[in-house]
Symmetry: C2
Subunit: 658 residues, 2 copies
Amino acid sequence: MNDTTHKVIFQPSGSRGQIRDGRSILEASRELGVDIESVCGEKRTCGKCKIRIEDGFFEKFGVVSSPEHVSHRRPVEDKFFTPERVQQGYRLACTAKIHGDIVVFVPEEARAGGQVVRKAVTDRKINVNPTVHSYYIEMPPPTLHDPLGDYERVCNALEAQHALEWPKMDYGVLLGMSDTLRDAQWKVTVSIWSGGKEPEIVRIAPGKIKRSLGLAVDVGTTTVAAYLCDLATGEVINTDSMMNPQVPYGEDVMSRITYAMSHEDGIRTLRSAIIEGLNTLAARVTEAVGFTPADILDMSIVGNTAMHHCFLGIYPEHLGLAPYAPALHHSLDVKARDMGLGFAPGAHVFVLPNEAGFVGADNVGVLIAEEPWTKDDRQLIIDIGTNGELIMGNRERLISASCATGPAFEGAQIHFGMRAAPGAIEKIYINPETKEPRYKVIGKEEWNDQLSPDEVGAKGICGSGIIDAIAELFKAGIIEKSGKFVKGIETDRVRRGEQGDEYVLAWANETSVGRDITITIKDVRAVQLAKGAMYAGAKIMMQKLGYDALDRVVLAGAFGSYIDREESLTIGMFPDVPIKKAYAVGNAAGDGARMALLDANKRTEADEWARKVTYVELSVEPTFERQFMMAMHIPHMKDKFPQLKAALEEEGLGELVT
Amino acid sequence: MNDTTHKVIFQPSGSRGQIRDGRSILEASRELGVDIESVCGEKRTCGKCKIRIEDGFFEKFGVVSSPEHVSHRRPVEDKFFTPERVQQGYRLACTAKIHGDIVVFVPEEARAGGQVVRKAVTDRKINVNPTVHSYYIEMPPPTLHDPLGDYERVCNALEAQHALEWPKMDYGVLLGMSDTLRDAQWKVTVSIWSGGKEPEIVRIAPGKIKRSLGLAVDVGTTTVAAYLCDLATGEVINTDSMMNPQVPYGEDVMSRITYAMSHEDGIRTLRSAIIEGLNTLAARVTEAVGFTPADILDMSIVGNTAMHHCFLGIYPEHLGLAPYAPALHHSLDVKARDMGLGFAPGAHVFVLPNEAGFVGADNVGVLIAEEPWTKDDRQLIIDIGTNGELIMGNRERLISASCATGPAFEGAQIHFGMRAAPGAIEKIYINPETKEPRYKVIGKEEWNDQLSPDEVGAKGICGSGIIDAIAELFKAGIIEKSGKFVKGIETDRVRRGEQGDEYVLAWANETSVGRDITITIKDVRAVQLAKGAMYAGAKIMMQKLGYDALDRVVLAGAFGSYIDREESLTIGMFPDVPIKKAYAVGNAAGDGARMALLDANKRTEADEWARKVTYVELSVEPTFERQFMMAMHIPHMKDKFPQLKAALEEEGLGELVT
């Protein structure tokens, strides 16, 4: 160990700093506040602290990272990694010592307690009606008396043994067909895609195959999730996720569009990053269960419009400029090989349609998963990410809109904001009498008041905590309807800080950061802006549809699963609704991708509804400014909240709203 | 000039030799008997002697050729070449002096008098009903009130302005679409392919395009011919041809299959050669008329089964081994980009179907050009190349066969055989009384007896000359029905040579080779084998169809255009037929490719008839050996030739046949 320091960056959190030469990556993670799971106390026995050292130049950070910038692999590490993982640069964080600049990727499994925001598989009923079916056939070999061509021999067998029409032949399959047939002694499994108007052979595999595999992918701005499915049964065989490899080129959509526009080959760089990422993810998700990416016969993919354009390699410039017209709305069937994906020779990728410039294929995924057109309820579906995407309507009519909420709900632009990771304050209650808070930190079973201060270990506030905080400050009479701090409250929790008025949520001795964790007036304003935009959008949509009220609010997206519906209603994130009729549905976009993979009818539905949903461009609505201004209030300047009022009356706070 | 010599190889003739350093390529061509046109007498004013110095290693010849192995380009050459040609290594043969080993390609235009065997455009009525149509549209640009996607905007315009259904989008077109639309100010020409069940956009070009171009290609074993057509009018805009770039890897089909089988990457080498060749040819044929390969919207291609497999990149091993099953019979629509062809982004290549292992897409081209199924006449279509491909039948039934004629008809395996190039004896008449010949040499207007001996300049005998020679030797009573030389003929023209009995066709002083040009007993045997195989094949086909006679014989292929029908009937190349009903139709395979390019119905017809024609495998026919033996006789051991007899009777030779 010497005095030299190296730049160390942890992904996906982005935490970075200078670390002394010779420190272990686990030590570095603690210095930088990154949580890496470690059960054995660095005895190298638990293997929980698996991380990956990235290889290459990270332009954004100005760092060249290499697996060679850490100490050599120790024999003890071998038992924790497959040869593939070793090749990918996986190490134990407790064992690898830092001797140069590195970018460390912390996989979800190694994030202490797991990252709470994740894209898990939710349980939806999916009709299994896939686009690719596989058929086992046996054929007599050709003779001089029967010298029929190989393709025609296959088609004859398909016709005789499975009563199939002759499918057309994919060129990629054709190239290896003759050898496969002979090597397999004329016993093969033929996989046929019927996603177009002509069925097509997309793979001929020797013998009987075990399973027909498909991959559903949800490309989020931050996280890419993959679901490996059995096309015959619909079963999810394996799931995996990774940080979107485009993150180094910009954390949000606009900065990636800017990157593509301002760099020569920018779009090619972004595209290669995601395609390489998808190939890696496909390898991981298949190899873990004994298959290879070449076994993937079909794929479906969702993402917002910018992600959609980027993985297709379409220059996204026009998406970033008014009038934000996408290159296309329609779904697309692209050959995986045309996209650079190494799947079965003739495999297709079904790219779900976009609704509009800011309402992408991910939202269409939500749409086909939720099917609002089957319901009478006047429904609002909110997909909260960096943008809020709104769908409203019922079986009579559906409209959509996009509102720029900013990243406040993700914990960004908030003074003590952080991702939903251990140490984040996720739930808050403030006593209206004493103005004292109770709160719960991710990673602890107990609330803060059941722990001694040094056990609490609060580090920041995540999105759901922010919403709670604003709602509770309001209900406790600490902030006004307008968001301003009420003057003259007798508590040392409210004070004047650097940013103006602030409320101390956790005293320094309850934190792992050694400072008071506060909610500042600026934080309140950021949330007001975010929720105001969303509320105003919903309000204009209600006007368009002639609704005087909503019957149901569905919160899609992982974030929606963790927020408190009463608190969100209290701050006025959306118009009044019966509280029990506001609920979260998890990663509905990913579910939509999975449904489109497994059920051909869902593909038709996606195109149909992506067209039928009318997009409302909020920025050109003349009343938007006024609506937005009124919706900045908590919960609103003028609107009535009878359902919320009823709920608050139970807490004796009914007079807060009308 | 010094004493060093260099290896010089001329293509496509294959003539080669050691040439002294400093000689011009034109001088070398004369030493090696290669005819290069030169009008100005090497004054560098006519520009006729354009040749190309090849660049690269020619494994077959063991030669590294380079444009740098000749003297520097002279300014005078500039005016004869476009910059593209300069780049491709074109030079004037009279000006470039040899300073190293070179392979020289002599383009057809520079072959003195033109090579007689060529693949010219023949005049057939073609119905113009192309697979790609182009439509000019204008669109309003998107606004915030009308932010519809680009693809949908294009489709709306196609629907409104041309009443078209919405076509699907090719992925390659999609990538550049948004920029093209904006750069062209929303005025574009959209080209739509309708060769499948779903119409597809294959190009979006700015503004109004001048012409919609298509390319029909005939890949022969030796020559590749390309016809650039206007898809809207059917007009042939330009044609060009080149030596098949696979020739260095084997002159005939079997040697190329052997090459593919015996070399690692053999098939990839063969494929790259032809694909590169096709790209070069496409560039030449388009650029000469002010277009580029990117303007090619559709392509059709024919070739024998081995060429078919090679340009698709299918390993042809199984074609070369019994039971000779091809990878597929059916036609195929492949994206040009998948084949490595740089055409319009979404352009397709229509690959015509194969009939059987030895009856390929070229024969299907002949089939759709000739349409024997529309006729009552019992017809035999012979496509003479290295193999003879036979089609027989009429509207009731059609069958096909392939017979191994060997290359005798192409002048190979013949003692003084040569290609149909200047100096070749192409027509022969032998006086039955005096046994003296009259003959005509390609490149001379007059027959030999109208010229002084030193003006004749005979060099060898081409295919049509060989057939004439055997027929005339027979009619003059010099050879017997069995092919043997008749004993005791009193003429010094018949003598004993190195190979046995021979007939002197040209005395040494009438030649440019300084030796007597003879027809040897071995030559007679070679022709008997070739014609016997063809006749026996036709005979077995007649038996299969229950024909007692034929009504019509069509000679397809360039060679067929140059042979004398009476002489071919005299030697018994095919069964008796009214002489006027035996005629040549030129390059019908190339015509078939052109018809498939221009008329979608011809594509359907090709697939339909390639399946309906029953292939007869002659080698498994029990009577083949006997038929073959009998057909070796001139014209046949037993069969009667009443029509031929009637014709010969006019010459007083009726007693020769029965």
